[in-house]
């Protein structure tokens, strides 16, 4: 007996996305897990503007990876060489495949200079893969102290695989205790649980 909830979904007509949706810019999201930790690259998302990017980031990256701070900025901002004289947050990806890590901030006249200063001040002789920089004025910073970010208030454990599996495991333990698991053991489910 399957749910009929979706039997009335209208048939898709035409293209599934519109040119507007396809051309939403990409935003990069950095999160800080605990106060005092460095900000690490959490991932990216597509959104039409900064305010929706912030909201989407909060739901997408703030829920599964609880954190105390979140920075959101346009991808092109991080890689741009242009810019104005101001403070830049600078991020280093030490090895290919690593997450970009916030290492500090520099004053610079453009992205290019910010990257050079980052290398000079924070990288030195060490090897690295890429450097990202972002003018602070172009980052949306969501501060857990004063802005609404995270749901630390109710138990969100059910969202996590471990939260879910704990419950599943308890149930299996109960089943085993009742010897009801015999029939399952003949199959490979024993391996799974």
């Amino acid at each position: 007996m399957l749910s009929k909830a979706r039997t009335n979904i209208p048939e898709a007509t035409g293209d599934l996305t519109t040119p507007e949706v396809d051309s939403f810019p990409i935003w990069e999201v950095f999160t800080q897990k605990n106060i005092g930790d460095v900000h690490l690259h959490a991932g990216s998302l597509s959104a039409p503007d900064a305010s929706l990017a912030q909201h989407f980031a909060r739901e997408h990256y703030g829920q599964d990876q609880e954190c105390t701070n979140m920075w959101v900025g346009l991808r092109e901002t991080f890689i741009a060489d242009e810019g104005n004289q101001e403070s830049y947050e600078v991020f280093v990806q030490w090895k290919a495949g690593d997450r970009h890590q916030h290492v500090g901030s520099v004053d610079a006249c453009c992205g290019c200079e910010a990257k050079a200063k980052c290398k000079e001040q924070f990288v030195g002789d060490k090897s690295f893969y890429t450097i990202w920089t972002a003018p602070i004025s172009r980052l949306t910073k969501i501060d857990g102290d004063k802005d609404m970010i995270w749901r630390e208030t109710t138990d969100q454990g059910y969202r996590l695989p471990r939260g879910y599996s704990r419950v599943v495991r308890q149930k299996w333990d109960a089943l085993r205790a009742e010897q009801a698991v015999d029939t399952y053991q003949e199959e490979d489910l024993k391996e799974t649980f």
């Binding site: 909830a5 909201h55 989407f56 609404m148 109710t154 059910y158």
Partner: protein, 256 residues
């Protein structure tokens, strides 16, 4: 006060059911959008908020359990139609029209925020504490939906027109959120809840304020008549309930 006098049990359970049932069914209906919302990130966000609502409902069913000892799963899934206390806006079919889903969410989220704020002032501390905690998260829901209202109101002529139509279509259902739960006067008189004046007026000020500058208008009228809060539900609700009980009814005594 952490102990609640027995004379207030029935009334407070009724008020708690209004909150829990609203959240359970709103979360249930909103999760229909998982996988098919108009843009990927909206899909993820809407699903995440729907999960929140269901978790919040769970917390309120637990609180009811602490009063009457009934199993939270049984309370959530095991009642007859007339024993549910949600306002039928939460189950009003959105016909998979995003504007409808946003209008429903907007009306309900702001209402919930204000209702929880008032419940935070309850003199029975378990409810005050729970309402305070959940209201902090409800603020996130309001913040999120406010952005959508601003975007769709200030978007294109098309988006504004569709949003306005949805707001108008859902207006009569929004009125019914304000049907007073049975027994709430007993709780006011008994000093359990604080009567902070007309909830509808507070809500109307709040929603008007949010749409101010978007060119959208809210035409919701105060509640008249009996509806979901007194167990008089419409067809859309019954359909949602049947759907929700489909699995549960296959074996009501199963341990989940």
């Amino acid at each position: 006060m952490s102990e609640l006098d027995k004379q207030f049990h029935e009334a407070i359970v009724n008020v708690l059911l209004c909150v829990a049932d609203d959240k359970l069914f709103l979360g249930h209906r909103n999760s229909d959008w998982t996988g098919i919302a108009p843009i990927l990130e909206a899909d993820i966000a809407f699903s995440s908020l729907a999960q929140d609502d269901i978790a919040h409902a769970g917390a309120f069913y637990e609180l009811i359990n602490s009063i009457n000892g009934e199993n939270p799963d049984q309370i959530a899934f095991g009642r007859n139609t007339s024993a549910y206390r949600c306002a039928d806006i939460v189950t009003k079919d959105d016909e998979f029209n995003w504007a409808n889903a946003i209008a429903r969410q907007f009306y309900c989220n702001v209402y919930e925020y204000l209702r929880l704020q008032r419940l935070s002032n309850c003199t029975w501390s378990p409810l005050a504490n729970l309402a305070k905690r959940i209201d902090a998260e409800q603020a996130i829901h309001v913040d999120h939906i406010t952005t959508w209202m601003e975007h769709l109101g200030n978007g294109t002529e098309d988006s504004k027109e569709r949003m306005q139509k949805a707001l108008d279509d859902y207006a009569p259902y929004a009125s019914m959120m304000f049907e007073a739960p049975r027994g709430i006067d007993t709780l006011f008189e008994g000093g359990i809840l604080v009567n902070e004046g007309c909830l509808f007026t507070a809500w109307k000020d709040c929603v008007d304020n949010i749409v101010d500058g978007t060119g959208l208008t809210i035409t919701v009228e105060p509640c008249t008549g009996d509806g979901g809060r007194t167990g008089n539900h419409d067809e859309d609700f019954t359909r949602s309930l049947n759907e929700l009980q489909e699995v549960f009814n296959t074996d009501p005594l199963a341990a989940w």
